[in-house]
């Protein structure tokens, strides 16, 4: 599948950049004229993935970086991957279960992965404890 356009970016794991990542994703997706609903889905899913890198992967530590790659494909699909070099996830299957969270005291609901899964067409989570996590999501755009 040919990549029509892409953006690769690195930004610090700061909560103020959750909004930045949403804007950056929406700006690329807007190049193929998605519906308002598709835009909302992408913004929500990207927000979840980036928030997880900030909250869980680096646990609020200074200096962590979030790597985002977004691609627009020839068939009109949008592929975004959010990568961190944080603590990683031991049991990905359990992490993806609705309401499972390791940070209830920070008022995490455990619904992040469920929302990514519901709002995007495809969700892939690859993680290695101590090495980091990569979340890749695909959304078909167009009317």
């Amino acid at each position: 599948m040919k990549t029509v356009n892409f953006v690769r970016m690195t930004l610090p794991a700061k909560s103020v950049n959750e909004a930045y990542a949403r804007v950056a994703a929406a700006a690329l997706a807007s190049q193929v004229d998605p519906t308002i609903e598709q835009m909302a889905d992408i913004k929500t899913a990207v927000s979840e993935a980036v928030t997880n890198a900030i909250v869980h992967a680096y646990r609020g530590q200074e200096g962590g970086l979030v790597y985002i790659t977004m691609r627009l494909m020839e068939d009109g699909s949008f592929i975004v991957s959010v990568r961190d070099r944080g603590c990683g996830i031991g049991d990905v299957r359990q992490a993806r279960e609705p309401c499972f969270t390791t940070a209830p005291s920070e008022e995490r609901s455990g619904m992040g992965f469920s929302i990514m899964e519901a709002f995007m067409d495809k969700l892939q989570v690859r993680s290695a404890p101590g090495r980091g996590t990569t979340v890749t999501m695909t959304k078909r755009l167009g009317r």
Partner: protein, 103 residues
């Protein structure tokens, strides 16, 4: 994100506008909990009608306030949720804990 806190009889109204993400939710939590502690209202109404974006951090905020209010024997009501905001509240099962105000 903007928060307006209004007291009406013994009910606290939290009117939120703009975007709710983890960055903002931390601020919301702090401000609303401080007011709950000071006022000890019988009910908290969270008005989401002006919210243009919300992810699961907003859900965490709503459920967190459910717990704050449960601690003082009060109830939480959510109103004005539409679109993706409503979808997220529905799919999480939040309405088993907080009341939905239909207008």
């Amino acid at each position: 994100m903007n928060l307006k806190l209004l007291e009406e009889e013994n009910v606290l109204h939290a009117v939120i506008t703009g975007e709710i993400d983890h960055h903002n939710a931390v601020v919301l939590r702090e401000k609303v909990d401080r007011q709950i502690a000071a006022m000890r209202p019988a009910g908290l109404v969270i008005d989401l009608s002006g919210v243009t974006f919300m992810d699961s951090s907003g859900l965490g905020f709503v459920m967190g306030r459910y717990r704050s209010m449960a601690g003082i024997g009060g109830q939480v009501t959510v109103k004005g949720a539409t679109g993706r905001v409503e979808t997220i509240l529905q799919m999480s099962g939040a309405y088993r804990y907080v009341k939905l105000l239909d207008e």
